[in-house]
């Protein structure tokens, strides 16, 4: 995780670069200091012997002047003495000592030559003025001891060593030697090179830091563009991917929002209007949230995540944001054209305690569970995730449990009779899915199907049910069995192939009825309609299940050439008491007779209902009055 942060955030690279820069600057400073120390040490090593020799020479010159009362005047007046002193000075000249000379200071404070060991072309005249160019020379008159004077301004020389020759404890003469310490210069040259190398590296690092800084800014700008949804101008799924690893779940409550029936808007008015509606939703979101604190992410077509900031462990203000947003949606008119508007609603699932989850994904799942409940409870509502309530509902099987049940062959079918209303003889059986859990309990479809809806496992379950029914049909050639099948099954090649193969064997297709559930989806699946027609031609009987529920099913009759309709149990169960329900059923029956479609009444659970069914001349009945679902051999 740390590595991930390090790589993903270029600011850390900038900090690293600055640290390296500081280290290198310190190194450069140390090298500078080192240069000075090495220089001093080299001077000390190179000159220690020479200094001794120079001091000896000064002593020997002084011994020549033993009888003198005025050193400078006596030397000036004595050519012989000058010559002897110069001989002593010449001994000092070596490869490194370029000049050796004897000076005195006159009454005006001007230094003048008394002797010079230089070759004739460079030799100074007796009493020639000498501009010392460094006031440090004067210190010798106070210190009365030898001095080393560094010469930095002339590249040929490194330093001068001056030795006082005292007369009556006063400096009377100065013996000077000028060094050219080549070794020091060589070492300094190497150190200088190192300094320049380090300096170059620092410049390169600064260059890289500048480039990195520019790239970081560009990266941040790019990142912003990549993370904003073009249509709604809120964050998109990319941002969610980036955010979910870093977000502090303690700081937010998490809500999942789904626009109700948005698909119908798209289907009815077209995608352009759909986009327009989405933009209006986005505007409502922007007006409802606290911009500095809350985050809105569009993570699907009409699905949004809201992260409302919790301040000082106060959930109220964060919940208020969700409520404000929900109310604003309800109160808003969504314009589909300049003049026309529609009402839209949204379902929201809220997880008030995302910090209890280990990851963002887990926290989101809980909000999604609450959203699922909001949708199941009729939509247009806010549901707060409740752990206890969810645990109660958790008697639903998990996907893994269902997969395991298929593998362990624990998927079975119970069968419920469909009888001829008049003769009460068995006409068909409806195969109903059951799973035996590991404890031997029989699990009903409402705990199974919602979990696997839209997944490949549902296809596998359908295949399993087909297998079971096929085996039963082979066992007993007199029975007819109906299975429930949904539009997605009808576009699945392997299921279609199975049904095609069945049709070739022992008249199976004539005894296997296909009850279409979720028939409203058939309109959207042209291929499913074509396949259904093909299956009908192969001999399969087509049933529309739960007819009369939801929106008007009559339109589906034009799309699906059905043989039977099964009237929804919710209408049938009220038929005895409710006149409207009775009239609805009556009309359906009349229409079906006109259309030559046979009718089955579901949920016939008592005699009263049965009598009504008889009075309406409904051909077939199904319900607890005749049988409860059970294994076929019972």
């Amino acid at each position: 995780m740390k590595n991930k942060i390090f790589i993903k955030n270029p600011l850390y690279l900038i900090i690293l670069g600055i640290i390296i820069g500081i280290i290198l600057v310190s190194l450069l400073y140390s090298t500078d200091k080192l240069q000075e120390e090495i220089e001093d040490k080299m001077i000390e090593i190179s000159t220690v012997d020479i200094f001794s020799i120079s001091q000896n020479s000064a002593k020997s010159i002084q011994s020549l002047l033993k009888q003198s009362l005025n050193y400078s005047e006596d030397i000036k007046n004595d050519i012989q003495l000058q010559s002897e002193i110069e001989k002593k000075l010449k001994i000092l000249i070596t490869e490194n000592i370029k000049y050796a000379y004897l000076l005195y200071k006159d009454n005006q404070g001007v230094f003048r030559f008394l002797a010079d060991a230089s070759p004739p072309e460079e030799k100074a005249n007796l009493n020639q003025k000498f501009d010392i160019a460094n006031s440090k020379w004067l210190e010798i008159y106070d210190k009365k001891s030898p001095l080393v004077i560094k010469q930095k301004f002339i590249h040929e020389l490194s330093l001068s060593y001056i030795t006082p020759i005292l007369y009556k404890n006063n400096v009377s003469l100065i013996l000077a030697i000028d060094f050219s310490v080549q070794k020091v210069q060589n070492i300094n040259r190497i150190i200088d090179l190192i300094k320049k190398g380090i300096f170059s590296i620092i410049i390169i690092i600064i260059f890289f830091l500048v480039v990195l800084f520019i790239q970081t800014i560009r990266y941040l700008i790019m990142q912003k563009t990549a993370y904003i949804d073009n249509l709604t101008n809120v964050y998109n799924r990319n941002y969610l991917q980036e955010l979910k690893d870093f977000i502090n779940l303690d700081d937010y409550i998490l809500a999942a929002l789904d626009i109700d029936h948005f698909k119908k808007v798209n289907d009815t008015y077209g995608h352009d209007v759909g986009d327009k509606v989405l933009k209006q939703f986005s505007n409502i979101f922007q007006d409802s949230i606290r911009h500095k604190d809350d985050i809105i992410i569009r993570y699907g077509g009409e699905e949004f995540i809201i992260l409302a900031k919790v301040k000082k462990a106060d959930n109220i203000s964060a919940i208020n944001v969700i409520e404000r947003l929900f109310t604003n949606i309800q109160e808003n008119k969504f314009y589909i054209s300049e003049k026309e508007s529609i009402n839209m609603t949204a379902s929201i699932g809220v997880n008030l305690t995302p910090h209890k989850s280990r990851t963002f994904s887990e926290a989101f799942k809980l909000a999604d569970t609450a959203l699922y409940n909001a949708k199941n409870n009729g939509r247009n509502s806010i549901e707060i995730y409740d752990e206890n309530e969810t645990n109660k509902n958790n008697s639903k099987m998990s996907i893994n449990e269902i997969k395991l049940a298929i593998e362990d062959d624990r998927v079975i079918c119970y069968f419920q009779k469909i009888i001829d209303t008049n003769s009460k003889k068995i006409s068909h059986y409806e195969a109903l899915l059951r799973i035996i859990d590991k404890k031997g309990n029989i699990i009903l479809p409402d705990k199974i199907l919602p979990v696997i809806k839209g997944t490949f496992i549902l296809r596998n379950i359908t295949k399993k049910v087909l297998d079971i029914c096929y085996a039963e049909l082979l066992k007993d050639e007199k029975i007819h069995i109906n299975i429930n099948i949904n539009p997605q099954d009808l576009i699945n090649e392997s299921i279609i192939t199975i049904l095609k193969n069945y049709s070739k064997i022992n008249n199976i297709s004539n005894r296997l009825g296909l009850e279409i559930v979720e028939s409203e989806d058939m309109i959207n699946y042209k291929k499913a309609k074509n396949n259904l027609l093909m299956l009908k031609n192969l001999g399969y009987k087509i049933f529309i299940d739960d007819f009369g529920s939801g929106y008007s099913n009559f339109i589906y009759l034009t799309e699906i050439q059905t043989d039977y309709i099964k009237i929804d149990g919710n209408i049938i169960k009220k038929i005895a008491e409710d006149e409207v329900s009775f009239l609805v059923v009556k009309n359906i029956v009349n229409f079906a007779k006109e259309a030559n479609i046979k009718v089955i009444a579901e949920y016939v659970c008592d005699e009263k209902i049965y009598k009504k069914i008889q009075s309406l001349n409904i051909e077939y009945s199904q319900g607890y009055l005749f049988s409860i679902p059970s294994p076929l051999n019972n």
């Binding site: 005249n125 501009d131 010392i132």
Partner: protein, 154 residues
């Protein structure tokens, strides 16, 4: 590619001293010399200085022209700086011109020079001879006093 060109340019710049230091140092010495001669000339005479250096080199021309109007001939000049060994008989020896040298021995030996700037033990030295300054009616500012020598010349 742009980065590498920048890098090479920078390294060349950073290390340029390593291969041009001789020229630079030489430039510096001539520069210093020209500056000192310029100050001396300005202090020694009134009006515009027209400098003549016999056998002047290209480098000297380049450096000295920053401080002086250079003359091609001795006759055309009013300040002559002799810094090389030349046949001095060919020079215009008129009293309306000032002669300066870079050689102490020449200064002592030849009375036409009123002063010298030279390197003694690798240090810059300036010497003016008091009597010649008086004879040539040259009044130097007080800060030049430390360079004036009071010789007993005949």
């Amino acid at each position: 590619m742009r980065f590498f060109i920048t890098l090479i340019a920078y390294i060349s710049f950073a290390f340029s001293n390593q291969y041009t230091f001789l020229v630079n140092k030489y430039d510096k010495e001539i520069e210093l010399e020209a500056k000192i001669i310029s100050n001396i000339a300005k202090s020694s005479m009134k009006g515009k200085t027209k400098l003549f250096i016999p056998k002047i080199s290209d480098l000297e021309k380049k450096v000295y022209s920053k401080y002086f109007t250079l003359s091609e001939t001795c006759e055309d000049s009013n300040f002559i700086f002799i810094n090389k060994t030349i046949d001095e008989k060919q020079l215009c020896n008129t009293t309306d011109k000032l002669f300066f040298t870079n050689n102490y021995k020449k200064l002592i030996a030849d009375k036409k020079y009123f002063g010298a700037f030279f390197w003694s033990k690798s240090r810059p030295n300036i010497v003016f001879i008091s009597k010649r300054l008086k004879e040539m009616n040259i009044k130097l500012p007080k800060n030049y006093n430390q360079f004036i020598e009071y010789f007993n010349e005949k």
